[in-house]
Every structure is written in C-alpha cells, then in structure tokens.
Amino acid sequence: MKAIVNVYLKEGVLDPQGKAVHHALDALGFKGVNDVRIGKQIVLDLDAASMHEAQKEVEKMCETLLANTVIEDYAVEIVQ
C-alpha cells in the first residue's frame, strides 16, 4: 500500500519559498497568479491490513514526526 503525505505551511503563516516563486513567476510574465504555496510530498510504502488502518497509522506519523503542527497542515492519501 502507498501513502502520499502532503505537508504545507498553515494558511496565514507566511511561506517565504512560495513568495519568492510567486515573484519569479510574475517577473517571467506569468500574470494572474494570486498566491503560491510550496510544500513537501512524502511517499510511504507500507504494510497495512486495510486502507483505514493505513490512514490512521500515517496520521499518527504526521502528528509525531512528519509535520510540525505548530506551523504546518498535512493531508494523507492512501492508494493501493
């Protein structure tokens, strides 16, 4: 089973990387971009009895290590 974890800075927390890329896109002539947020994707290959169990286990991993919930949100997607 595969788990795809996306970690982003929370809404309202300034994202310096996103801001820099937003500026760069604008300078390159790509107008009309309202905001850019940059996160990271963590892909896990894991053994689990069910998708539900995998979801719960990976959420625990996020709360413990993969995300810093003071500043980051995360989203977990389990794929077969």
Binding site: L9, V13, L14, P16, L65, L66, N68, I71
Partner: protein, 223 residues
C-alpha cells in the same frame, strides 16, 4: 561547573562550545546522542549548533527523538539548566521544551554575519550579567532562524518576560535578518531554566573573534 555538550550526527559547534567554557575554566563533557543519561553533577546542558541529521525533514525534527533528548527533558523538568544555540534552539522547539517553531529565513538566504542584539529581559540566569536594553554583538549563521509563534503564544511570551533577545542595529533600532516574529532572537521557557537563541555566543568569546560579548552570556550560568 560541569557543562554537558550534546553531539548529534551533523553537530559542528560542540568544540567551539567546549573551547568557550574551558576558557572560562569550566569542565566540559561531550555526550553522544545515543546516550540515555546525562552525566551526574551536570550543571548545564548545551544543545549546540550544527546540522543534526542534515536538517532533513525540518531542522531538529529527527534529533528530537534521539535517546539523549529524553534524558534532557527529564533534566529540564527537574529544573536543570538547558541552553540551545542555533540548531540546538531548533531542537528544543521541536522537542516542545520551548514554544513556537522555526521557518526558513524570509529572504531565503543563509545569513552569516555579526549581528547586534538587544537584551529585553535580564531577570534570568542566562542574561543576569547584562543590562536591560544593552546592545550585544554576537555572530549569527543560519538558514532557518525565522521564529514563529501564534498571536496567543506571542502574547504569553511577552507577558511572562520570556522574550530575552531581539535583533537590532548598533543603535538599538529593529534590524531583523530572518523575518522572525517581533524580531525575536532568543527566548526562555516559563520556568526560566530552558533557553534558546539563534546567535552563537560561543563564537564571541575573544576580541580577536570580533567580539567577546558572548562571555557575559555564558558566565551567567557559572555560580
């Protein structure tokens, strides 16, 4: 005084820290992160600067789970003094021994230079030899020193006098190198026994290094 300096894979300031305290005639033991106990009679634990675990995932995120950090937490819970410098500060944040979190510098640059700091609060062991409002000159070197805490946490820090140092210029005007909230460079916990700062006092202990202002800070821990 017996100083215990931690070392993780990727730590690179343990010898500078050792040098600084030995210069102040203190005894220093460097402890590997896999140790499960802090040496007996330790008067101060220093979590030094560097790049623990290559700063992978987030600065300090993996080091937090090293066996020695469990011992540091117990030591701090018992009132022991802990000082986190730069990466050490990041590790203490990830360990929740200090509140808040660290983000990449707002300008995305690795900043390495001498920086002035203002002493905001000297009612603590760390800064007791400094005057309130005193301007210090201490080097900084980091890519992730953009300290963040939510509004409620920030108010609590200010109300409790936990904001210890802010970034400023030579005249004391705000001069923020990394975008940290309210120009914060260093804080302590509510009990005032755990300290964290991004600047490197151990690199400012002799005038030949450009400043000896770090001595005052480190001497604060010596009785």
């Amino acid at each position: 005084m017996n100083v215990t300096v931690l070392r993780f894979p990727g730590t690179n300031c343990e010898f500078d820290t050792e040098y600084a305290f030995k210069r102040l005639a203190q005894s220093v033991t460097i402890v590997w992160h896999e140790e499960e106990v802090i040496p007996a009679n330790t008067d101060l634990v220093v979590v030094p600067g560097g790049f623990s675990y290559g700063d992978y995932l987030r600065s300090g995120a993996i080091a937090r789970f090293s066996p020695v950090m469990k011992a540091v937490k117990a030591y701090a819970d018992n009132g022991g003094y802990v000082l986190g410098i730069c990466n050490g500060f990041q590790i203490l944040l990830e360990s929740h021994l200090l509140p808040g979190a660290m983000k990449r510098n707002e300008n995305l640059h690795f900043v390495s230079k001498h920086q002035h700091l203002k002493v905001v609060n000297n009612d603590n062991r760390f800064l007791r030899h400094c005057e309130e409002g005193e301007i210090l000159n201490i080097p900084i070197a980091h890519a992730e020193g953009n300290y963040f805490i939510d509004d409620e946490g920030l108010k609590r820090l200010h109300d409790n006098g936990q904001v210890l140092l802010t970034y400023c210029d030579a005249d004391g005007n705000p001069d923020n190198p990394n975008g940290s909230v309210d120009d914060i460079a260093g804080i302590c916990n509510e009990k005032r026994n755990v300290f964290g700062l991004m600047p490197h006092p151990e690199r400012a202990v002799e005038t030949i290094l450009g400043s000896a202002d770090g001595v005052k800070m480190l001497e604060g821990f010596i009785l």
